[in-house]
């Protein structure tokens, strides 16, 4: 993780807390993002991603804690045109064409990009003369992206930017995003698509129950959850003996093949070979991010139930 220094203040969230009635949406969240980073806020629905983004935009006032955007409070940063955002809400306006709405957004910013260039980057040129109310979901998403981008902000905040978009549309969107991040912009996006966070973020901040449960590059998150598997051929050994090995969380047997799900695959492998020298066809596979995700957010459902009961 890049250290944020006083000379290059990025985005700093400290002790951020927000409750809606008895439900604590975000609790004591600390996060520092360096300029130029692309960070995914990954978490299940209701984890507090949108609330966090709303607080970063100054749309929601935190109960406690502060947000600093390049050294300024959110409202001032927005006023200076440093921030562009795609919210989950915010569909196009009636009686305006695509080009007009982008031009209108551009007029609000001190140093906007050229409207035509933005339309091209976002792939909205083809339907620039369409009424904004007559767009498909994918087209509307491009327009919202163009609107977020046209002010040439240093920070882009995207709240589930590809929700409801098909696979192809998603790929196009992230391709366009790449062109944008190459310009050195800081990007923070919320998503519950694991592959998206894995493929496009430098760093994943995993959020559950309003708290950060893991933070780092995708590979680190996977390792942190320890979700790696060992496959091997090992006839006639009791699964309980395998489960008892250090670093092994659970063991399964399918005929002669065994599958060890590990918390520490390195230790488990050493122990496995020491205890059972006859082990053959050893294969160590990285667990998927999905497994890591499920493991790290496992307590979520239980916590959710408790909150709902408390609310009653």
């Amino acid at each position: 993780m890049t250290a944020v220094t006083d000379t290059s203040p990025g985005i700093v969230l400290s002790g951020l807390t927000k409750s809606y009635g008895p439900v604590r949406a975000v609790r004591r969240l600390d996060l520092a993002i360096a300029p130029g980073e692309t960070v995914a806020l990954l978490g299940p629905n209701g984890a507090g991603k949108t609330t966090t983004i709303d607080m970063m935009l100054g749309l929601t006032r935190p109960d406690e804690g502060t947000v600093s955007i390049f050294g300024e409070p959110p409202a001032a940063a927005v006023q200076d045109g440093w921030v562009g955002a795609m919210l989950q809400t915010g569909s196009p306006l009636e009686h305006l064409k695509v080009r007009e709405i982008v031009r209108m957004m551009a007029s609000y910013y001190p140093h906007p990009l050229a409207v035509e260039e933005v339309l091209r980057i976002t792939g909205a040129s083809d339907f620039a003369e369409q009424w904004t109310t007559k767009l498909s979901g994918g087209q509307a998403q491009r327009v919202r992206f163009a609107a977020a981008l046209v002010g040439d902000p240093d920070l882009l905040l995207l709240d589930e930017p590809t929700a409801g978009i098909d696979v192809e549309g998603r790929r196009d969107f992230w391709q366009a995003m790449r062109a944008v991040t190459e310009r050195g912009k800081t990007v923070v996006f919320a998503t519950h698509y694991l592959e998206e966070a894995d493929a496009y973020a430098d760093r994943i901040v995993l959020i559950a129950r309003g708290e950060i449960v893991a933070d780092g590059p995708a590979t680190e998150i996977k390792a942190q959850a320890g979700a790696r598997n060992i496959r091997a051929t090992l006839p006639g050994i009791d699964v309980d003996a395998l489960s008892a090995l250090p670093g092994v969380r659970s063991a399964q047997r399918h005929g002669d093949a065994v599958l060890l799900s590990c918390t520490n695959a390195d230790a488990a492998l050493v122990a496995l070979l020491a205890a059972f020298p006859g082990t053959r066809d050893i294969e160590v596979t990285g667990g998927s991010l999905e497994e890591a995700f499920l493991e790290l957010t496992a307590a979520d459902a239980e916590a959710g139930r408790q909150i709902m009961e408390a609310a009653r």
Partner: protein, 240 residues
């Protein structure tokens, strides 16, 4: 400036807007006033009275139109989107007021022409004075449009705005009859901005302009409604 231009453009592309602010008052005017060209009402020629009344009617719809736009923008999450741009709320507000006012002018011009065609004769100074009084008297309705736009759900808004305009029109004497000309009800009517709007035709003719009471009524309504609009705006844009 671009924002202001698009505010106007968005209104002009709304066909219903023309129907309600231009066609409706014009049709009502001719259908009612052409039969009473030589009649008098409330102490003045009926064509002048009803010309003013119908100009007020159309103009009231025109100035509450930004409210309808606000409600639609709100339902589409656009207000939140605007709040995260450098556009200041007061710039947005000013553009909407200016656009609303600018779009009142065609209504006034059209009804004044219609009045002239039915024999209303005023000096240039009187035409200007009448237009000026109407523009001032519309201020409370501009603000009412904003309040309703921020508070009323979009699916109820057309009825809400229409209802407010019709009620004020009815009590103000817009439809060519007055609910009272003396007594306590009359005292209440005289506290309505729409009453004084309709009376602008008569007072202009008398040469005295509005009496002090009219100015006080306008000032009080405006003074009460503006903070209410600010509250409504804050309620609409904050999410707890």
């Amino acid at each position: 400036m671009t924002h202001f231009r698009y505010e106007i453009l968005r209104t002009l592309r709304n066909r219903v807007f023309y129907a309600i602010t231009l066609a409706l008052p014009l049709v009502l005017y001719y259908s009612v006033a052409s039969g009473q060209r030589h009649g008098t009402f409330d102490g003045i020629a009926f064509p002048l009275y009803f010309m003013t009344a119908m100009a007020v009617y159309g103009a009231m719809y025109a100035v509450v139109a930004p409210g309808a736009r606000i409600a639609r923008d709100r339902s589409r999450g656009w207000i939140r989107q605007l709040r995260i741009t450098p556009l200041r709320a007061r710039t947005d507000f000013a553009a909407k007021v200016a656009a609303g006012y600018l779009l009142v002018l065609p209504t006034l011009a059209l009804l004044f022409l219609a009045g002239a065609s039915l024999g209303v004769r005023l000096s240039a100074a009187h035409w200007l004075e009448l237009a000026g009084l109407l523009l001032v008297g519309l201020v409370p309705f501009v603000v009412m449009g904003f309040i309703l736009g921020y508070l009323v759900p979009v699916d109820a808004l057309a009825a809400g705005l229409g209802g407010v305009v019709v009620l004020f029109a009815l009590f103000g004497g817009v439809f060519g009859f007055q609910l009272a000309t003396s007594g306590p009800l009359f005292d209440v009517l005289k506290c309505l901005p729409s009453y004084w709007l309709v009376q602008a035709g008569k007072t202009t003719l008398g040469g005295g302009g509005w009496p002090a009471q009219a100015w006080i009524v306008m000032a009080v309504w405006t003074a009460v409604l503006i903070p209410a609009a600010a509250l409504a705006y804050r309620r609409a844009t904050s999410r707890v």
